[in-house]
Symmetry: C2
Subunit: 242 residues, 2 copies
DNA sequence: CGCATTTTTGATATAGGTCAAGAGGCGTGG
DNA sequence: CCACGCCTCTTGACCTATATCAAAAATGCG
């Protein structure tokens, strides 16, 4: 459908939004992050600074076909990986959130495989690929961590197929909502219906109708604009079509 | 639907079908295979023998939940990776063919994520994980090759989503057929309609109807039982809905 | 040859696509 | 602060593709 509005949006290359050089050794999410296993001495070897960037909805982190020379850790926010069909339609193939790593294509020196588009205000760390490669050679734990990320991405992709691309529209929407519930209060934010459709392989209208229906039936309650509370139990019933 | 008929089938653990110890240094497909980059001296370090197994349709290479301690290279044949939905339905999430590697979960010491089921007579090499791990530490090229395989699996998974789980049933079947065409004569073998359905997220009946229709319309010609010639151009038209 | 399994085909129901219009939000500029 | 225009969401009416249920035809196997 659209895939447009690119011309206006920033890519990360323009450093005007640069937030500053990161100090990984005091990173607040360091123990869950790619660099978790690094030692003091490892940090001494990082000469190139690691940038930390704030990004806004609609910004493009990288595009399919760009030379892959950087790896990204998502500190916070939400990013979609998008691929295009021959007919121009788009399909979202993965969502990235806090502590996720993306752009691992860079480790092999190829091109990025997706457009990475910011959906909610996001902060990323930008890791130059040569830094990661050297560290990965020297530090077994980082190396292990990289493989784990790879494995995780693959498991995510499998789930995307089995959960989000299989079954009725109702089931798919329900499963997506369950995935989105973040805190223990079952709160979640949704995104626009078009993106929901591109995630689930259904039309915008069907996404809309289904969400509206869930609201009416009380599986979803909107506390304030785009702030929902989900009835996870009922959603699960729908997801498995009981 | 079924996911059954397991009780009767072999898993690879029973070595009765053992074909013999492989000699990797003279492997006929060695230059396209995981061990492509190994040197003579590397082979000297492989103490544990590398098994080479012939498998028959219906055999199970490994099952979801099994401890992942071996990595497999497909020498020839066809293997499906299957996952199950909560409601018991199955979905095929990947197909493996000659030179593909599977079971990389083993590198992280977890459990296999899928059932790996033989679809057509297959030969695999079984690589004990500790062998691979040691070699990968010593040999950069093997290590690189492993990452490439990981990347490839991920790209396959993305294609599975965009090509085989998106669009009308006709389009999906057409795209699948295009994928299956192997030689330059556009020959291909199909598999049973149920598997086609589980790959495409459609019913067995729809798969059957669509294939039958393609035959009638001449997009597909059956030369002998389960030996087809595909009209790739016409299939492409259908795939992109021109 | 006869049984079991898979494929094909038919009839029917329905979920979801399509096209179109209205409703609600939100930012911009007067 | 309001009015206008733009955009997204929602809803409606309609129609088609695909699921579902069932039975016949074809295929393979012992």
């Amino acid at each position: 459908m659209d895939q447009i509005h690119f011309a206006m949006t920033n890519t990360v290359t323009q450093k005007d939004a640069w937030k500053g050089e990161a100090n990984c050794s005091v990173c607040s999410i360091r123990d869950t992050v790619l660099f978790a296993g690094l030692q003091e001495k490892d940090f001494e070897h990082i000469h190139k600074p690691i940038e930390q960037l704030p990004l806004r909805p609609g910004d493009i982190l990288y595009r399919a076909g760009d030379k892959a020379d950087r790896l990204f850790t998502i500190r916070s926010g939400l990013v979609k990986l998008v691929q295009y069909l021959p007919d121009g339609n788009q399909r979202i193939v993965r969502l990235l959130r806090s502590t996720d790593v993306t752009g691992m294509e860079a480790l092999l020196g190829g091109e990025y495989q997706h457009d990475a588009v910011i959906m909610q205000s996001t902060e990323v760390c930008v890791l130059p690929i040569d830094v990661v490669q050297r560290l990965s050679r020297e530090n077994t734990q980082l190396h292990q961590e990289l493989m784990k990320r790879w494995q995780r991405a693959l498991a995510d992709a499998d789930l995307w197929i089995t959960q989000l691309s299989t079954g009725s529209a109702r089931q798919r929407v329900a499963r997506l909502l369950i995935k989105l519930v973040c805190d223990e209060d079952h709160r979640c934010q949704l995104f626009n219906r078009e993106d929901m459709g591109a995630i689930l392989g259904i039309t915008t209208e069907t996404a809309s109708r289904t969400v509206a229906d869930f609201k009416r039936k009380g599986l979803l309650r909107e506390t304030k604009p785009n702030q929902y509370v989900a009835d996870t139990d009922k959603l699960l019933e729908v997801a498995e079509d009981l």
